[in-house]
Symmetry: D2
Subunit: 122 residues, 4 copies
Amino acid sequence: MTDPFEELNYSLQQFATERDWDQFHSPKNLAMALTVEAAELQECFQWKTETESAELNEKELSAVRDEIADVQLYLIRLAGKLNIDIEKACRDKMVKNAEKYPAHKVKGSSRKYTHYQKGDDK
Amino acid sequence: MTDPFEELNYSLQQFATERDWDQFHSPKNLAMALTVEAAELQECFQWKTETESAELNEKELSAVRDEIADVQLYLIRLAGKLNIDIEKACRDKMVKNAEKYPAHKVKGSSRKYTHYQKGDDK
Amino acid sequence: MTDPFEELNYSLQQFATERDWDQFHSPKNLAMALTVEAAELQECFQWKTETESAELNEKELSAVRDEIADVQLYLIRLAGKLNIDIEKACRDKMVKNAEKYPAHKVKGSSRKYTHYQKGDDK
Amino acid sequence: MTDPFEELNYSLQQFATERDWDQFHSPKNLAMALTVEAAELQECFQWKTETESAELNEKELSAVRDEIADVQLYLIRLAGKLNIDIEKACRDKMVKNAEKYPAHKVKGSSRKYTHYQKGDDK
């Protein structure tokens, strides 16, 4: 195997099996854990300005790196439980996004960005 | 390029550049957007039982697939902005997790799971 | 003053002024902090079954109580910054909800609940 | 009754009973719903600068007001299910916070703020 999503998913399965944790890993619980990790990642930036958020020191960057991994691992685990191919889902979603936000219509406008973004999310 | 993370990151950069959206994509804002997408993913399972959450119909599965893609895309974009290698971060985190939750100590125990999990997250 | 929302808002203002923290309390940052606290609250229930989530021990209940307070305090602070009357906003929202989910139409149905809920949220 | 928390909790109980929705309102599910609403509130500020987040137009403010109500209503409902007195929990937490962040030590420092904040949250 050379696909990182597949490899990581396999490692996570092994990890859970060895600990008998599969019983806790319903899609519902995994989705909850994912949101909690996303919030912990967000917390790293919470009181920083946008500019500061791009200028992390070594220690902060290391913490962010760990939180990014936590989000990624739960996402792979959740997708694995539902037999969803993340990479393919991403490519399909990017096609949808390109149709929804035509470059010539939304270019550089925060208002339109927000507007179109809302249209997408809701 | 054959690495899916790199390829998707490159596509996302192009997508943002074409729309002049890079100005909105501070790490702080991307982390916020990621959490919002994670919550939308969680919302798909919110009123379901754990058992039901593993038995989605076609339409529900398709919605979940799109939300998983949204989370993944913002995660790649955020990691890209901070020059973080997601795959390597995941592997390093799995080594840490294996040390923190030794299989013979935490096996099958929800109490220990919770306990050790808390120790990890906090 | 006898209104708890007003009193707590006043105390929070004093607290921030004494520490010169007002500079960090933009609505954007307060909304981020609120979500992080909500996720910490959710984390208390994450690996429990629904039944277990209603049977917390003393220590768990005390932790949940603190997290509920954190969410409430940031919510009051955010509403205060935007001059929003939380109590009145709640009453108005309950009127909207009663119109949106007529009791005789949605009674006891999880499918309809989900359906109507989605209609509300989106 | 004149306490807004009690009154709103009573109204929410009635609302759920009339729709037979109590079966969905485990503390776990309510905590999930609360986080989703918090994320929707956060979404209102997501692509705005901090300054812009304090200068909402009528329509934006109305949307924020509804989301604040949603968060508040789920918080009251969750606290009600666990017999937690929100107002008292808030007062107790503010005493803890005052001890944890002594004004003379943390005044005006974002670094210390972050540091102490982290100490509090974790």
